[in-house]
Symmetry: D2
Subunit: 319 residues, 4 copies
């Protein structure tokens, strides 16, 4: 094991740079070279590859986004594309690869590993929907971004006695909505994993209003409903002045939180160690504050579940 | 002068609480009582009035929103409403009134003053569109909220090499768009005060792209164009992947910046002092870091202008 | 089970208010009343007790500190004090107690429980040094406060090419130092659990300096060394301009992070549920993102360990 | 005018990078080249000079510190040093120089200009003590850093009912202390420009305490007293538990506020324009939200005054 490649893939998430830094430094510590591949699998197909020295990853641990860029890549989904990728990796002299990203990226990692190129996945996505780890890199930062936005909206909601509907990211996973809703005492939380009950939402709003609540906050995961449409319906049914905010892409950026920087560093260092020890086809994860690893299949086959206790709790606490 | 009333009106802005606190403390320092009126002119018509003691304004200087709430009020626009307002003020034993808000609120203040009830206006709006003061209370905080959001979007824009269109508040005034665009190095800034040139916008994007820029940021004031529509057109014309974020109501909230807390405190204290000295029909303002005051007419009649030098500068620096 | 008391004790930590809120709301959800006890065990001895309604905990989930205040209490360490405490609890009609705090507070909780008054502990301390839970309430927020401070110092350190020694809290536990050092890429981290090697520290600084590093950051837990003295020695030995910052009490405050709000809510709700189910003498904790509970003895007898893998990692990554 | 040099000097302040960016872009807009000089006057003497292209100042507007570094320079205070500096400027083909810094740096600028090398000063220091401008670049950011720290300390101060003494920067100027104290409702503010009255401070603390205040905050500018000693004396005299925090170097760093980014951009662009127009020996400043310029002598000879109205106001509002 003399040369390791690293790429970031899928939607960017805060902490990816900390992961890149940890791979580079951990590898150099063990006298292994690291090669950065720009733009994910797409860059691999375009041979956009360059050596990463220790100085290249200085002063990036606290930066959002990814210094290796990221992109979608249709070509890599084809057999030809995959073979070309491996050819490029081999031509560049790489012995193994670290893929930083979410479940889509893990599928790519698994493909390469199955084709014989040793690959390890580091879970990084703001969706927190990868099994085999308590948390994914970027989730904590995105969550803080969401609650800082809601804290601001809360001020104006109180001043105007309004109902606010806030749409957060999460096409298939409701973690960001559920955690932010719980963290901000939202009246109602809509997640893709649970059908929602408009009658119940209205009942809660009316009850809170009668008890003298100065504002109400409803969190909607984008995969559960359109915030704009939901807000309209709420206003029509309750008659309360209702405003909608779609948080959008601010949720992907920002300097990573301490938790995400540490998580990314620990996971990425472990991935590097595994490759150096000759292991591959695995994903790294944090379980009970310990770093561990599982087969990539595990993450890809086990369905992501929302924590039902937390969902119930969010309802009990928003009485 | 023994009793002063205070209300906040119009859209809330960060620093209104600091203004309320300063009126209460300055008045009590001069042995004058202060009465809080909830929900702006609406609360005045509903007699929602209560005494404010020094303890009531403890621990609020750093809070967003307004502890006196705010609301729109159609009734106050009528002659009957205005007379009722003055009756309520007099029945409550008040001698004078401080109105905290934007130009709409100043119109209400002027009406009361013209009808013989001594009133002073404190300019507080995130739009920064009140003449007679270099800055309005809340503008600085809103501006920082906007640039923090853009800084986050910049991370993900760079990682994905995308064009971002960000819609900020400002129906009639482009200050928030112009300042935030200048503060974040936006390629193009659309403001209500200036017609925009789609050809030129496209030309700038293409030029930056060719020079190797990893992302482009376009700021659109809501009064200049719809961010969503503008983004669509940009994508169609350039073919670059373009995303739109409408920042929405996060711009009104948040703990006020140091600048806004100090500005609010200085302005509100001066308003109180003027009333105690028997002056009224005036607005307070900060000019060249000194606190001063002007007739309310001044603020209402002088049109708000965008700083043309700054606008030109924003174009020169975004080459 | 009709009446539950709650108190916060020891050093305050961000998220205590979220815990109070969760106990009140969860209890009311189950038709149980909650009584707030001000100033920890001290308030219990002074009968500073009052009923907490649902409205009392509105708008506090995002506030730092503790609305129930906290204080030290020598009297409670005596047999007489403890009996008086139980008498006051019984006279107030309480059936059980939730104690929110660190290990010192847990000792108090255990004492009451041993004397027959059902008590549960919720771990809240910025030190993260309570066994039986992956994280304590407040640690995550304090950690973010520390890294935001270091990020700022990094700017000026780079501009001036200086060495910075930053002293963080942690008399007996190095978690805050270790995590923040790892999160910020510190050259050297001093923790109470590990003897430090001045020679090695100097060697690292010189090596980094020769490689062209623009700044060096050293994190010192207050329990490991005096930041001021350590900084002086570094400057003497290396000749590099060295500055010291003692972060101090900013580390205890601030709006709790999303993680701490959610953790506090989940833990406190579980504590309430346990009491309602008739269980006591336990501490609640989060293990592998699941909420669980252990005997109070567990937390008090098992020594806190630093994560040795993380410590080693911090050294490998700071080459 | 074909070539302009730029250097940053003295203590770094947030917004210096925005100033550098504006000089480069404004100059290139007018087809003028810009040369960066590293480490202030020291780098000038060491010929540490390199051309700055438009890409070099991409993505720096939001970064704290200065990409050109800064350093002290004894040699430049000598006649020989000054002549060498001018020789190096001329040898590098530069026609004029922009100096970004505080009053010490302006003295250097004036020296060069007097010796015949056209130089303009851009006021950048967190001390806000340069006459001829309402605000200096960096003051606003430092102020926000200070109040965010105080806001955090306030949480823990309230929870523990303590008195806090907070030492902020300001050896000769009290602006940072005065503004932050006013912004945070400090009981007492100690500034170098005003003798302090220990009796009065104690009286205020006791009065507030009797009225039921849960905490007291005292701001001390480093030039007025030692925070540590002052805190000790307060505790001795009042018997109240008193803690001291010395904010230190976090005050210099951090991403610049919107205000500082805009101010830096406007001032630096105007400096560039002046040089292009053949003017020199001047400092640029913002007065009443307009950009203007004065002779360098003006800034250097006019003494800095604290705003007495603001100081009085701070005392009236902290009753």
């Amino acid at each position: 094991m003399r040369n390791i490649g690293i790429l970031t893939s899928g939607g960017d998430s805060p902490g990816m740079n900390a992961a890149i830094r940890a791979v580079v430094r951990k590898a150099i510590y063990h006298d292994v070279r690291v090669w950065g591949i720009n733009y994910g699998f797409s860059g691999l197909l375009n041979n956009d590859i360059y050596p990463l020295e220790i100085g290249d990853v200085g002063d990036i641990i606290h930066r959002g986004g990814t210094m290796l860029y990221t992109a979608r890549c249709e070509e890599f989904k084809t057999k030809d594309g995959q073979e070309k990728a491996i050819r490029h990796l081999q031509e560049a002299g790489m012995d193994a690869l670290v893929v930083v990203g979410g479940d889509g990226s893990f599928r790519g990692a698994q493909t390469l590993d199955n084709l014989g190129f040793p690959t390890i996945g580091v879970p990084a996505t703001i969706d927190n929907d990868v099994p085999g780890t308590d948390f994914t890199v970027g989730f904590d930062t995105a969550l803080n971004t969401v609650i800082e936005a809601i804290d601001k909206i809360r001020d104006t909601a109180t001043s105007h006695e309004r109902t606010y509907v806030i749409e957060v990211m999460g096409r298939h996973a409701g973690d960001l909505a559920l955690w932010s809703g719980l963290a901000d005492g939202a009246e109602t939380i809509l997640i893709p994993e649970q059908p929602y009950d408009m009658e119940d939402t209205v009942r809660r709003l009316v009850r809170g209003h009668k008890r003298g609540k100065k504002h109400s906050i409803i969190i909607v995961a984008e995969g559960a409903a359109s915030g704009v449409n939901f807000g309209k319906e709420i206003q029509e049914r309750t008659g309360y002045e209702t405003r909608v905010t779609v948080l959008g892409h601010i949720q992907r950026g920002g300097s990573p939180s301490a938790f995400d920087r540490v998580l990314a560093s620990r996971l990425a260092a472990h991935a590097t160690e595994l490759l150096i020890k000759g292991k591959s086809g695995r994903m790294v994860g944090m379980l009970a504050n310990e770093i561990d690893d599982q087969p990539l299949d595990y993450a890809l086959e086990k369905p992501h579940h929302i924590d039902e206790n937390m969902y119930r709790l969010s309802q009990e606490l928003s009485i």
